[in-house]
């Protein structure tokens, strides 16, 4: 097992700082929302640290991310009270404590670049999260996970056993109390049954091209087409894989001098940074999903 980095110590110190609450809320726009939310917190003795609002004027929807220190540090009472308050306004709310460490499972297949990147960032104290579990349809990365001291669950998936395998995946995730699944180049499409059964967010990363390419071997297609940019997109997994709400995107420049292998290598670097940023925003309760898009309060 790799020794623990000093990130763990940093995380411990961070946990000692006073707890704050972060709420993401959205719903039908109406006059006075900003004042009513701020007033509610103020009256209960809370102190607002950050507040960011957005209006989708076409759709008539109001969005807000608001962070405050509750009076006496009584986070749990404020959390339930805020949910009731938001419901009274006809709004949907999600409230998270800044000290809550989200339990994360990483799904992998054979590629290990996003896997290493996420785990090393976690160990460096970048994320308020516990990476608790690695799940894979292949055994290859098992020793790597062991090297990091992480439980590794090998669940093979075939067309014939997919339903059964996914049921087992859900059972494993529930047993471990997992709150977020990250698909770190997991090369299997998750069924709707899995997504519904797990019932919690799943973040995926995939390559993106201008123009887009249907079919297999997209880097070969992009190379044949002579594209000058390649990209990566991180999004929440939904019933249409690769079509869920986009969290983050980025591109890198390529030229005719780059072979297909260079495109693949540059693509790996993009996938790492784009996925890492999307995961960070999610863990910091900065991503609000509505319809098929996101509002990222960065």
């Amino acid at each position: 097992m790799l020794p623990e980095s000093k990130g763990q110590a940093t995380a411990a110190v961070a946990a000692a700082t006073p707890s704050t609450l972060v709420a993401l809320l959205h719903g039908p726009d109406q006059p006075g929302l900003v004042a009513r939310v701020a007033g509610w917190i103020f009256e209960r003795g809370g102190n607002i640290l950050h507040a960011d609002q957005h209006r989708d004027t076409e759709a008539g929807i109001f969005f807000q991310r608001i962070e405050w220190e509750p009076a006496n540090g009584d986070a749990s009472a404020d959390t339930s009270a805020f949910h009731r308050f938001a419901a009274g306004l006809g709004m949907q709310a999600r409230v998270a404590s800044s000290t809550h460490r989200t339990k994360v499972a990483v799904f992998v297949s054979k590629a290990d670049h996003c896997f290493h990147d996420l785990i090393l960032r976690s160990r460096a104290g970048d994320y308020t999260a516990d990476f608790a579990l690695v799940v894979s349809n292949h055994p290859d990365l098992g020793p790597m996970a062991a090297g990091y001291g992480l439980p590794f669950v090998h669940i093979p998936v075939t067309a014939a056993t997919k339903a059964e395998a996914e049921a087992r995946q859900i059972a494993v995730l529930r047993d471990a109390g997992i709150e977020l699944v990250i698909l770190a180049r997991y090369m299997q499409v998750l069924s709707n049954d899995f997504l519904d059964g797990f019932g919690r967010p799943v973040i995926n990363i995939h390559h993106s091209f201008l123009p887009a390419f249907a079919g297999g071997r997209p880097y070969h297609q992009a190379h044949s087409r002579g594209v000058k940019l390649i990209g990566a997109t991180a999004h929440y997994a939904t019933r249409d894989l690769d079509e869920g709400p986009i969290i983050q995107q980025d591109v890198a420049r390529v030229t005719h001098r780059h072979a297909v292998e260079d495109l693949v290598r540059k693509g790996r670097d993009l996938e790492k940074t784009v996925l890492a940023q999307a995961v960070r925003w999610h863990l910091e309760t900065r991503v609000l999903v509505y319809g098929n898009k996101t509002v990222v309060f960065d």
Copy 2:
């Protein structure tokens, strides 16, 4: 004179939309500020459209940009009342109406790339501003200004006549009611007397390099040093030219294949886009200056 583009028509339509107020305020942080500001607007029947807050926790300063529709569209009463309200909180405030068209003067010397870029954006309706005046220490761009139908004032500047020339500049700006000066590659340093005498914002654009180069001919120095990036920085002019609060920065990649002329050309493109963005943010009342830095509510 170049015919008017359809931007003017767009601007006219925009002016017909209901007026909103935008306030930028900042001052010592204290609990309840968000609630009190939002409450004040709500009680007067206003509807908050956007609100963005920021805290400099080290310095203990609170910053806010807030935009609202005043009740009955009574913008001027709300403006003065808000100033009093902010003063009561110990905060500094600036309030602008969304329909106010800022009067702008552009200072130029001989280079015309930023000049054309700004004027064409203005004509395309990109800015809620009236470009009212072009001032130059050289006569060269006079015919260009005339082509756009813009008054052009040629005020030569020499070491001996600088004080006198600046006094005349200030007089011209005051007569025209100018509220913002843009230095679009104006190759003269403005004295503190000018900045104090004019008493309104001045935005400047200059090249930036990693590492920085002192002395003349910076593109030649950057080329000699083999830099891989060149940059441009837009900032408010202050007593130390090139050292005022930064509004926007950007860079472009260069290689050994680029001659000094290529660096200069790429620098021109950077200067155009960086200056245009800084001007846009300023005109939309998105830039709050404190100390020697800015908070840009983009």
Copy 3:
């Protein structure tokens, strides 16, 4: 008419520098090609200034851009001799003189941002080209063209008159000796008959998105989808509009705070810079097309 900028003077000076030849050649790879081409130039007393090679190892094709000073400045003899030499090697060659000013026509509809940008760059001496003609299916930009002292030809296009209109376009281009057409937001699809009849390069610019969107109003679709990047692609027009060989691409970052109008505005800025760069590379004989892709010797 806008007065001429000092760019014209710069161009005049550039024309006084000694003429060089630039050859783009490609064909089946074979050992010794670099040596044979270099040897041919050397034996005739020429001095090679730049040479850049590329191999598509999968397709077995060799690509070269080579620039040299011919002995005694005898460019025209070298040009025809080089064509024969390349043919003897089984290669296709294109040879251009550095002092040749390409005759350019700009096609526009109503949008004027790319139009102004190209013309101003031309006037600044950025291009070794003569912008000789503006062609439009609408009369709107006629006065703008007149302001720049450029001939403007209004050729309306309807479904019924398209064939006839294109025939007239070709006639106009031929009369003016046009060697390159730039579609600067020209909102008509050119038919294969036009492309074949004109028989010279046509460069187009269009928006690009990740993911791509079929159908109309792409900026609205991108906004609905919550994309985090918007892009633009410059390419040679071919039988499949928007599908020809890509010359240059770039992207800009957008957030939920950007309305559709902001996406459109940022798209305009992208279109300007991407098209300007593609045109520059084409005019400097840096773009070699083969199959449906380009090799850009930048």
Copy 4:
């Protein structure tokens, strides 16, 4: 020890491909150089795969990177012959075989982000190099190095022992046959004696800002100044640390919302990618140094 990744297998396959030679040469420009170099290779039965030339017209210097397959794969004879040939032309040459695996030592202190990034890229088969040694002035990363199966040499450095410590470092590097040192956030300035004594390239990474900041705690200074971009620069270490020939630079965008810790974190990501790219170019014999600048044949 972490298990070996499949990168090793990839590297083994690559080693089976036919060997090529890469020469970097530069010297006083003279007519016919391209033809003479290409002719020399051709006459010996070699096949040129890539050739890229550059001229610094101001300084009158010619630069070339040329890669060829030697006849009969006789790389070592060609290598010494090419050195003699280049010397005969008055040029300096460096020749490397594509199958040579450069022996690399990584110098670290306590920060581990660049360390992990380099080692994982090496294990993924990204580099034709053997990472043979980790040297540190602190013991902290010893267990990490052991986890990767890498020898770790702890050489403490104090002002009093610096000369002695550097002598020991040089001895260790020589014993291991190290050909390249990478300073992966090694927080000690190397003396001229070390650089002369080691006598081989040393690549360093450091942060860069617009404007530059002298003195300590640069991220704090950048935050106070409100910079909108932070950067990183990879360069060869020379007598003036942080002033050697630049290999690669990049920047990331920051806003007022980013605390100093965010700048530091974004800086770490920049440092990783910029250093990794610089190392790759160096290992692929793409970086030619002359004076205080580089020509990067990318």
